[in-house]
C-alpha cells in the first residue's frame, strides 16, 4: 500500500513540472514585469540594467530552472512592493485552506444525508423538493448568492460580518462558508442520490434484506459502502473547484487568503505573486487528486487488491 502511495506521489512530479512550466511561460507573455516595476518614465538603459539585475535577460528555460530551484527551497521571490512572496503566501495560505475545509465539511454533512434520504424516498414530495433546491443551487452563480447573503445577514439584519476577519474568525467564516458550499452542496447531493439509487435495488442488498438486516443498516452500511466511490470522487472534484473558486469568493468577502492575494496581484501585474501562487495551488489540487485515489483503496477492496497485487 505504501509503495503505491509513494508511486502515485512520484508520478505527480512530471505533471507538476509541466503545468508549472506552462504557467511560467504564459506569465512571461503577459507583459513586462520591469516596466511595471520602473514605470513609464524609465529609460531604455534603466530597463536593461534592471533586467540584468533580475536575471530576465536569460533564456526562458534557464529562468524557469532558477525559479523552480528557489521555489523548492521555499523562496518565491519578491513582490512588487519588495515584500517576500513566500512570507505573504505562508500567512494567507492557511486562511484559504480553512475556508475550503469548512466549506467541504458543511457540504458533506448536509449533502450526503440529503442525497441518501432523497434516494430512499425516491419520487416523494421531499425528494422532489430537494431536487428543485439542488437544481437551483447548481444554476445560480456563486457571486450572486454571496451578494444576497451579504445584503441579508450583513447589511439588513446585521448579524454576521461580511468582510475580512476582524470581528473574530469563527463568526467571519460563516457567510463565505455558506456561500461557497451552495453549489458544492447541490452537485454532491445529486451525485449521492444517483449513486445510492444505483445500489438500492442491487442483488446484494436483497441478500442483506433476506438475512433480516435492518433497513437502516441496509442503507447506511451495505448501500452507502458501495456508493462511496463516486461520492469520494465528487468530494475530490469539489475541493478542486473550491480552491479554484477561492479567487472570486475571497474577493467578494475580502477574505485574507490566496484568492484575494492573486486577484490583487493580477491587477497590479505582480509577476512573482501570480506565478508562485498558481503553481503552489496546482500542486495542492494534484495532491487532492492523489488523496482521492488512495481513499478508493480504503473503501473498495477490489481497488486495493489491484494496488497491493493481492
Amino acid at each position: 500500500m505504501w509503495k503505491y502511495v509513494v508511486k502515485r506521489i512520484l508520478q505527480l512530479i512530471p505533471i507538476i513540472l509541466l503545468v508549472s512550466f506552462l504557467v511560467f511561460w504564459l506569465m512571461s507573455l503577459t507583459g513586462d514585469p520591469v516596466r511595471n516595476l520602473l514605470g513609464d518614465q524609465a529609460t531604455q538603459e534603466q530597463i536593461e540594467a534592471k533586467r540584468a539585475e533580475l536575471g530576465l535577460d536569460k533564456p526562458l528555460v534557464v529562468r524557469y530552472g532558477i525559479y523552480m530551484f528557489d521555489l523548492v527551497r521555499g523562496d518565491m521571490g519578491e513582490a512588487l512592493d519588495g515584500k517576500s512572496v513566500s512570507e505573504q503566501f505562508g500567512q494567507r495560505f492557511p486562511y484559504t485552506m480553512l475556508l475550503c475545509g469548512t466549506s467541504i465539511l458543511l457540504t458533506v454533512i448536509i449533502s450526503v444525508p440529503a442525497g441518501i434520504f432523497a434516494a430512499t424516498h425516491k419520487d416523494s414530495l421531499l425528494d422532489t423538493g430537494i431536487s428543485v433546491f439542488a437544481l437551483a443551487g447548481i444554476s445560480v452563480p456563486v457571486f450572486w448568492i454571496g451578494m444576497l447573503l451579504i445584503l441579508l445577514f450583513g447589511v439588513k439584519l446585521g448579524w454576521l460580518p461580511t468582510s475580512g476577519i476582524q470581528q473574530g474568525l469563527a463568526k467571519s467564516l460563516i457567510l463565505p462558508t455558506v456561500c461557497s458550499s451552495v453549489q458544492c452542496l447541490a452537485a454532491m447531493e445529486r451525485m449521492t442520490r444517483a449513486s445510492m439509487l444505483d445500489n438500492l435495488n442491487s442483488d446484494y442488498l436483497r441478500t442483506a434484506r433476506a438475512k433480516g438486516v435492518k433497513e437502516k443498516t441496509v442503507v447506511w452500511k451495505h448501500a452507502l459502502g458501495n456508493a462511496l466511490i463516486p461520492i469520494i470522487t465528487s468530494i475530490g472534484g469539489q475541493i478542486s473547484l473550491l480552491i479554484g473558486g477561492a479567487v472570486s469568493l475571497e474577493t467578494v468577502f475580502s477574505w485574507p487568503g490566496i484568492g484575494s492575494y492573486v486577484v490583487a496581484a493580477v491587477r497590479s501585474g505582480d509577476y512573482n505573486v501570480v506565478t508562485g501562487s498558481v503553481i503552489v495551488l496546482t500542486v495542492v489540487v494534484s495532491l487532492v487528486t492523489v488523496a482521492v485515489d488512495i481513499a478508493y483503496a480504503f473503501v473498495d477492496p477490489r481497488i486495493k487488491a489491484k494496488y497491493t497485487g493481492k
Binding site: 435495488n201 442491487s202 442483488d203 446484494y204 436483497r206 441478500t207 442483506a208 434484506r209 433476506a210 438475512k211 433480516g212 438486516v213 435492518k214 433497513e215 451495505h222 459502502g225 458501495n226 473503501v299 473498495d300 477492496p301 477490489r302 487488491a305
Partner: protein, 337 residues
Amino acid sequence: MAEEMKDLALEVKNLNIRFETDDETVYAVNGISFDLEKQKTMALVGETGAGKTTTVLSLLKLVQSPPGVVNADTLKVVGNDVMKMTATELEAMRGKDIAMIFQDPMSSLNPVMTVGEQIAESVMLHEGLDEKAAMEHAKEMLALVGISGDRVNDYPHQFSGGMKQRVVIAIALACRPSILIADEPTTALDVTIQAQVLELIKKLKDEYKTSTILVTHDLGIVAETCDIVAVMYAGKIIEYGSLEEIFNHTKHPYTEGLFNSLPVMGGDRSQKLKPIKGLTPDPSKIYPGCTFAERCPYATEKCTQGFPEYKKFGATHIVACSRYDEPDFHIERKEID
C-alpha cells in the same frame, strides 16, 4: 374442516403479483395456491419468465415495490401472515424462519464486505452472538460448504463463481432456517460442483429438518431431491403432485413437453429431443383461456375459452387442463406404475 392438523411450513392462497411500470403492466404471478408441509422439499419448475423467482421472493416480502404489487388471500410462513407483518417482524422472520439462496451468485454478495462479515451478520442479528463468536460460526459455515475457514477475511472478488454460490448458501444456512428457498442454486455451477451443492442441501434437510422450495428447470435435479413438484407456466401452477405422480403419471401437456425436451439417460439415442414449440406467452397480456393453448399439441377450440379448472387425480395430484373433461383423454407419454 380447515383444521386438518397438518403442520404447514408454508400456506399460500391465491397469490397474485404484477409489476406496474410506466409503459406496461406485467402479470408475473396469477393466482397461485399451494401448501408446503414441514420437512418436505417442493420443486418449483417452469421455463424462464414463468414467475418462479417472483413467487418465492414474495414469501420473504422481498418483491421490489414499486413496481411490484403483491396480493394474496393467505401468505403464511410457519403460521404467520407475511402480508400483515410489520417491518420489524419481517426482519425477525427473514434469515431465521425463512432464508433464501439467490439465483445469481455473481451479484448476490456485497463486494465491499468480507465473506465472513456477510455470514456473521445474520448470526449476530438472530442468535445474538458477539462479533468474535459470529466470525467463528462463519468459519464453520464456510467449512460446511467446502471452503476453508481461513478464507473468512477474503472478499467476494477473491472467489470463483462456484465458491461464491457456496458462500451464498452458507449465508442462507447460517441461522439454520426452518424454511429454505433455493432459487436455482446450481445453474451457475459446473456439473461436479452442482452435485456437491445438491448433496449439501439434502444433507442439511436431514440434519436441520428444513422445509425446502427448490426452484429449477432441471427435472433431473427434481427427481433426485424433491418430494413434491409444482409445475409453473405463465404465472400459474398448471400441475402439482408428488414426485411419483408428476414423473410417472404425467397429466399436463406442458409437463409432458418438459419431459420430452429432456435427453433420456440410457434411452434410445436415435430418438430426437423435442423442445416445446413456440414462445412463452407475453406476460403483459391477460389470456382468456389456457395460457399454454397456443403451443399445446392437444389444444382444441374450447381451450382458448376460460382458464381450465383444477382437476384432482391422485391423492395430491392436481392438473389444470380442460381436455380432461373428456373422459378418455390422455397424453402420449406413458404412465409408469
